[in-house]
C-alpha cells in the first residue's frame, strides 16, 4: 500500500471506528466516511453509489451476487459461465444452481466462444451468465461488448468478474452485475465490491437483513480502498503503458527461449500479467530457484510469482499445465528488475532440464 493509502487507513481507524449503523455522533461520522468512500469507489468503477455494495471479501461478493440474482430469476435454473472463470465463481454458481452449470469454452488465447455462448443462452432457462473481464492467470481481456450483446439479446443478466482488471485497465462498461477486488488495486485485503445496475433484479437470500456485509463493514478498509483506487486511476495510463512495455519485453524474450510458450492474448490483455510454460520443467522447482535468486539480488519483491497447480485455465486454452511461470508486475517494477529476471530465467530453465535429464529441444 502507498503512503496515501496507509494515511487514509489510519484516519479511518481514528475517525471511522464506530458502528456506522448506530445513531450517536461517532457513528454518524463513520457513516459519512463510509458513504463518501463508497461514492468515490462507485464513481471510479462506473457504478451508482446506491447500487454499490461492500463485502468482507471479493469471494463473498461473488457468492452473494450469484445467489441473489439467481433468486430473482425464479423459474430459470441454469447458470452459464466461461471455462476460465475463477474457481470462486464456478464453485458458487455450481452450488447455487444445484449443478445446472454449463461451461462455455475459449479459444487458444482464452477468448470466449461467442457462438457457443449465444447458443447456450437460446434455451430460455438461463438465470445468469458469468464472464470475467480480465483473466487472473493469463491476462486475456474478454470482448465484453460482444458478450454483453449476446446476453442482452437473450435477456440474461451478465455478471462480470473484474477482480483482476479494475485498477489496471479502464473499468468494464458492459455488465449487469460487477465484482471488484480492492486488494488488486493496492487497497487492503479483506474487502470486496459488488455493483449492480439499477435495472438488475436481485433478492436477499440470507436472513440477517444484510446479505452484502453481515456483521458490518470494515470502514477504515473502505476508506483506504477508495484512496488507493483514486491514486491508481490518476496514474493508470502512465503505469499501464510502462508495464505493458515491460511485459512486451518479457513476452518477446520468453518466446525466443527453446521449449517455452507464452500464453494469453498478446494485445488485448491486462498490462501487468505475463504467463509462460516451459517444457520439461517442474514449475515449483523453478519458482524456488527464482525465489532464491530474488533474495540474492536483493531486489525485494520486484515481481510476484505464483506457481499454478494443473490449472483449468491453462487446460482450457490447450497450454502446458506444467512449468508455468506467472509474473504479476506491480507499479514499482523497473526495467533493471526485468533485465535481471530475463538474464536469470533461461539459465534456471536449462539447469532444471539438465537435472531432470530432459532431452535437448531441437
Amino acid at each position: 500500500m502507498t503512503n496515501r493509502t496507509l494515511d487514509a487507513f489510519q484516519s479511518g481507524l481514528a475517525d471511522g471506528w464506530a458502528d456506522p449503523t448506530r445513531l450517536h455522533t461517532e457513528s454518524r461520522r463513520a457513516r459519512q466516511l463510509l458513504d463518501s468512500a463508497r461514492e468515490a469507489i462507485a464513481e471510479e468503477i462506473g457504478a451508482q453509489a446506491e447500487h454499490t455494495h461492500l463485502t468482507p471479501s471479493p469471494h463473498l461478493g461473488l457468492e452473494r451476487v450469484i445467489a441473489g440474482v439467481y433468486a430473482a430469476r425464479r423459474g430459470r435454473d441454469r447458470i452459464v459461465a466461461s471455462s476460465v472463470e475463477r474457481d470462486a465463481t464456478l464453485h458458487a454458481a455450481d452450488y447455487v444452481c444445484g449443478g445446472a452449470l454449463t461451461l462455455v469454452g475459449v479459444d487458444h488465447h482464452g477468448h470466449l466462444d461467442l457462438d457457443a455462448f449465444a447458443g447456450e443462452l437460446e434455451v430460455p432457462d438461463v438465470a445468469l451468465a458469468a464472464v470475467q473481464h480480465g483473466n487472473h492467470e493469463i491476462g486475456t481481456l474478454q470482448r465484453l461488448d460482444a458478450v454483453a450483446e449476446r446476453a442482452a439479446a437473450a435477456r440474461v443478466p451478465l455478471l462480470v468478474d473484474a477482480t483482476a482488471s479494475i485498477g489496471h485497465v479502464e473499468p468494464p462498461e458492459y455488465w449487469d452485475a460487477l465484482v471488484a477486488n480492492p486488494a488488486d488495486w493496492g487497497g487492503p485485503a479483506g474487502l470486496g465490491v459488488v455493483a449492480l445496475r439499477p435495472r438488475t433484479r436481485w433478492l436477499p437470500v440470507w436472513p440477517e437483513g444484510d446479505d452484502w456485509a453481515p456483521g458490518g463493514v470494515n470502514v477504515p478498509a473502505v476508506l483506504a480502498a477508495a484512496v488507493a483506487l483514486q491514486e491508481r486511476r490518476e496514474q493508470l495510463e502512465a503505469t499501464s503503458v510502462r508495464l505493458a512495455r515491460l511485459v512486451d519485453t518479457i513476452r518477446a524474450a520468453a518466446a525466443s527461449w527453446p521449449g517455452v510458450e507464452v500464453v494469453g492474448d498478446p494485445d488485448s490483455r491486462l498490462p501487468h500479467i505475463v504467463t509462460f510454460s516451459c517444457l520439461y520443467v517442474d514449475g515449483e522447482a523453478l519458482l524456488t530457484s527464482l525465489d532464491r535468486a530474488g533474495i540474492a539480488v536483493g531486489s525485494g519483491s520486484a515481481c510476484t510469482t505464483s506457481s499454478l497447480e494443473p490449472s483449468r485455465v491453462l487446460a482450457s486454452i490447450g497450454a502446458l499445465t506444467h512449468g508455468n511461470v506467472r509474473l504479476g508486475l506491480h507499479p514499482g517494477v523497473t526495467e533493471a528488475d526485468v533485465d535481471r529476471l530475463l538474464a536469470l530465467l533461461p539459465r534456471e530453465i536449462e539447469q532444471l532440464r539438465r537435472e531432470a535429464r530432459a532431452p535437448e529441444i531441437g
Partner: protein
C-alpha cells in the same frame, strides 16, 4: 515405471511408454526421451495416471511439431495418450 517397451505389436511402428505413477512433467520427459531416436511416422502411446498429461501430451506435440492422435482409457484408471512423430 518409466520403462520403454519396444515389443508391442511387432511389425508396426508403435511403442508404448509406461509413465504410470509419474507426475508431470516426468511423463512428458519420458515421452520426449522415447521419441528422440525414432523415425517419423512412429506412434508412441504414453500411459499415464497423472491426468495433467491429458493436456500436456497434446501441448507437447504442438510445441515440438508432432501430431497428437488421441487418448484412450486403459484398465486400471490410467489413460493412454498417443502421438505420431513427424
Amino acid at each position: 515405471m518409466g520403462g520403454r517397451d519396444d515389443a508391442v505389436e511387432p511389425g508396426s511402428a508403435h511403442i508404448t511408454v509406461d509413465a504410470t505413477g509419474l507426475l508431470c512433467p516426468l511423463p512428458i520427459i519420458e515421452l520426449a526421451r522415447a521419441a528422440r531416436d525414432l523415425a517419423p511416422g512412429t506412434e508412441i502411446s504414453v500411459v499415464c495416471t497423472d491426468l495433467a498429461a491429458r493436456t500436456d501430451v497434446p501441448a507437447w506435440a504442438r510445441m515440438t511439431g508432432h501430431e497428437f492422435v488421441g487418448e484412450k482409457k486403459t484398465d486400471g484408471g490410467a489413460v493412454a495418450l498417443t502421438v505420431r512423430l513427424r
